[in-house]
């Protein structure tokens, strides 16, 4: 038993949890903790805005698989975390946020920088705590980490009143066993029901046109190897969601790439015509399904997910399997191997049909040697990094192009705000990812609209010499909204024009970063080469692209896959392609 002040107890428990990096910004109510951090062996990243701190911790967590830690002060400090927490919550990212709160005797008095942070963050965290007694502090911090990283991961917030951080108390760090026992209502299902797994194996043997529909759960669970083994064993083609990118190598012959709203023609055709859909760590989001009544209309559905509430939420499932994806896939593979089966023969016709779809409508775009096509920029980023970089993205058209035209081959390679769709996520997430994986090239694909939402944190990247590259797909528009206005609102471009914007090159330089620009297609490669040669500072690359390029193919929101708008053909305009099963 040692006697320490609350702030030092926090530091000790964080050390015991193996934390090495903390992102955040101090203020009155959290000062005591920052004072304790001053002598602590953490990498302490001072950001310029708390939202960026939350996204950095998120990028750090997604890139490494560890729990990200973010700190902020009470009131505005904590409310600035809200978007970051909601982003992490939607994408099941393990975070622990520690916020200062006004001293206990001020709570409820509308004190300076007071906000009901536990109330505000309740619906956007997996769980949250207000520490009311210093005796609970060590257990609460350990519970927070345990809850954040187990089951379906998510952000957990701990609100600590300032007087508790200043108070002295004896304490002991609770053991793992004590932490588990202190949460009697929290028992994630990880094993998977054997009867259901057996049933799933039977369904797979019987299926003629099966598709694996893979989401971020495979990455979180670390089940990429098992997934590959299953796909290769049973010769089932694999389509991934935006969150699932990297779970299955996109260069693999069985890869169908992304499905859904901006999915490939062949992925959507395969799903539409499938007789068995095996959903693995995915949650039937509306951006995937489109019109739910017409989603995979003839398919039986097997759904493997650790979160029981994800199963039969949006769509009724035939074989629900609640469990950790890795465990379940291992058992499923074992079950499938029990009886010999001629998989090649069973899949021959189906894979041939898919090959035909792939050849008919590959992922493509209209090339140009006059203006820079955004897709071309992504392809060149892919080429110059040999497909080995970690890519982050903001939200909008550039995010979709980054998803479509970079071929991902390993888990935790593509980080973006899939669920919440948070603009401004890409750049700070890249900084967090680079801190977690310094040996990797980390590139943020950003939009001009998205980047500017967290542009202040270039200063942070410069201060800590984080050599991330930011590739701005600059079309001087809120491009995705503009695209929707073009397609669905008679091209009435309401409030989307961003032609008044900073000179991104000068802006980068003013922060002490490197600024580069390409205006013509032939400049893209040299500019990227120059950027790649710089490794001591962030590099901001302004890619001035075709202003009105559209993201295609596209299934309009709430529509069936039948009503997919395809890539521009000879007519140069998107045409509606009706899929017939």
């Amino acid at each position: 038993m040692a006697v320490k002040r609350g702030a030092d107890i926090i530091v000790d428990v964080l050390l015991a949890e193996g934390v090495d990096t903390i992102f955040g910004l101090p203020g009155g109510a959290i000062m005591e903790v920052y004072d304790a951090l001053f002598d602590a062996p953490f990498r302490n990243i001072l950001t310029r805005h708390e939202q960026a701190a939350a996204h950095m911790a998120d990028g750090y967590a997604r890139a490494s698989g560890k729990v990200g830690v973010v700190m902020a002060t009470s009131g505005p400090g904590a409310t600035n975390l809200v978007t970051g927490l909601a982003t992490a919550f939607m994408d099941s990212v393990p975070l622990v946020a520690i916020t200062g709160q006004v001293p206990r005797h001020y709570i409820g008095t509308d004190a300076f920088q007071e906000a009901d942070v536990v109330g505000i963050t309740r619906p956007i965290t997996k769980h949250n705590f207000l520490v009311t007694d210093i005796k609970d502090l060590p257990l609460i911090i350990r519970q927070a980490f345990y809850i954040a990283r187990t089951g379906r991961p998510g952000p957990v917030l701990i609100d600590v009143p300032k007087d508790i951080t200043q108070q002295k108390s004896d304490y002991r760090i609770p053991t793992d066993d004590e932490v588990e026992k202190s949460l009697p209502g929290y028992k994630p299902h990880v094993e998977g029901n054997y009867v259901q797994i057996k049933k799933a194996a039977e369904f797979i043997r019987k299926a003629k046109r099966p598709v694996l529909y893979v989401g971020g759960g495979v990455i979180i669970s670390g089940a990429s190897e098992e997934l590959k083994e299953l796909a290769e064993l049973t010769k089932i083609p694999v389509t991934t969601t935006n969150m699932g990118k990297g779970a299955f190598p996109e260069t693999h012959p069985l890869a169908l790439h992304m499905l859904g709203m901006h999915g490939t023609y062949y992925a959507n055709m395969a799903v539409y015509n499938a007789d068995l859909l095996i959903a693995v760590g995915a949650r039937f989001d509306d951006r995937v399904t489109g019109k739910i009544q017409e989603f995979a209309p003839e398919a039986k559905i097997i759904h493997i997910d650790i979160d029981p509430a994800s199963i039969s939420k949006n769509i009724t499932v035939d074989v629900p399997i609640v469990g950790d994806v890795k465990n379940v896939l291992k058992k499923l593979i074992k079950e499938l191997k029990k009886k010999p089966f001629e998989w090649e023969k069973a899949r021959e016709a189906w894979l041939k049909q898919i090959e035909k779809w792939k050849n008919e409508h590959p992922l493509t775009y209209e090339k140009s040697d006059k203006v820079i096509k955004p897709q071309y920029v992504i392809e060149e980023v892919y080429n110059i990094t040999k497909g080995d970089a970690i890519i982050t993205a903001g939200v909008g058209q550039h995010q979709m192009w980054a998803a479509m035209f970079y071929k991902y081959s390993f888990p935790r390679q593509f980080l973006n705000s899939g669920g919440l769709g948070t603009m401004g996520y890409g750049f700070p997430a890249a900084v967090g990812a680079k801190i977690a994986r310094p040996e990797k090239e980390v590139i943020a694909i950003e939009g001009d609209g998205s980047f500017i939402m967290n542009i202040q944190d270039i200063a942070t990247a410069v201060q800590y010499r984080i050599p991330v590259k930011v590739v701005i797909i600059n079309n001087e528009f809120l491009g995705m909204v503009r695209q929707w206005q073009e397609f669905f609102y008679d091209s009435r471009y309401a409030s989307v024009c961003l032609s008044v914007q900073p000179d991104f090159v000068k802006l980068a330089e003013s922060f002490g970063a490197v600024g580069l620009r390409a205006k013509k297609p032939k400049e893209v490669r040299p500019v990227l080469e120059e950027a790649m040669s710089i490794n001591d500072r962030p590099v901001i690359i302004d890619m001035v692209v075709d202003r009105e390029e559209n993201v295609l193919p596209m299934v309009p929101a709430g529509k069936s896959y039948r009503e997919m708008l395809l890539s521009p053909g000879e007519k140069g305009k998107a045409e509606t392609m009706y899929l017939v099963g």
Binding site: V118, R122, G185, E294, P297, P308, A309, K313, T316, M577
Partner: protein
Amino acid sequence: MEQEIKTVKLRPEPPKRIGRHIIVVRVQHNFGVLTRITNLFASRGYNIESLTVGVTHEPNIARITIVVKGDERVIEQIIKQLRKLIETLRVRDITTIPHIERELVLIKVHTGDEKARDEIMRLVNIFRAKIVDVSIDTYTIEVTGDTNKIEAFIDLLRPFGIKDLARTGTLAISRESAKYKYAKQIE
């Protein structure tokens, strides 16, 4: 290039049957746990008909009885979402297993003339209610029962003029006497 679609394939949808469900939740009796539950209902758009909460014989455990209307999928989601809360210990839908439902109501009713007084007294006896307070022109009546009985009683008192009314919402508990017979359904 638009091909005409002759048949649109639809996923087979299970029929939607909206019903009233009684869900019993045991939770750790922590600060803010009730807010977590009501928040969950509000943020996911579920309609609570009634919610009753109280501490149990174990002082660190509270029991919440929720009455909610919805189709099977909504009810299933509600139960799953409730189970997902960290402080939830147990969630059961006891609608289809034998159980006892009770509500308590306090009603202030205008008494008016002697005839009205007699009539109200008669109703109080029939419904096994109790008069717990009397003033010059009102009775305050206490009655317990399931929702149907309570509704019927209130409707009968309505013509006399109800001055005020307080209801607890439904409390429910499964019947121990039927436990073995229905053990399988209790999961």
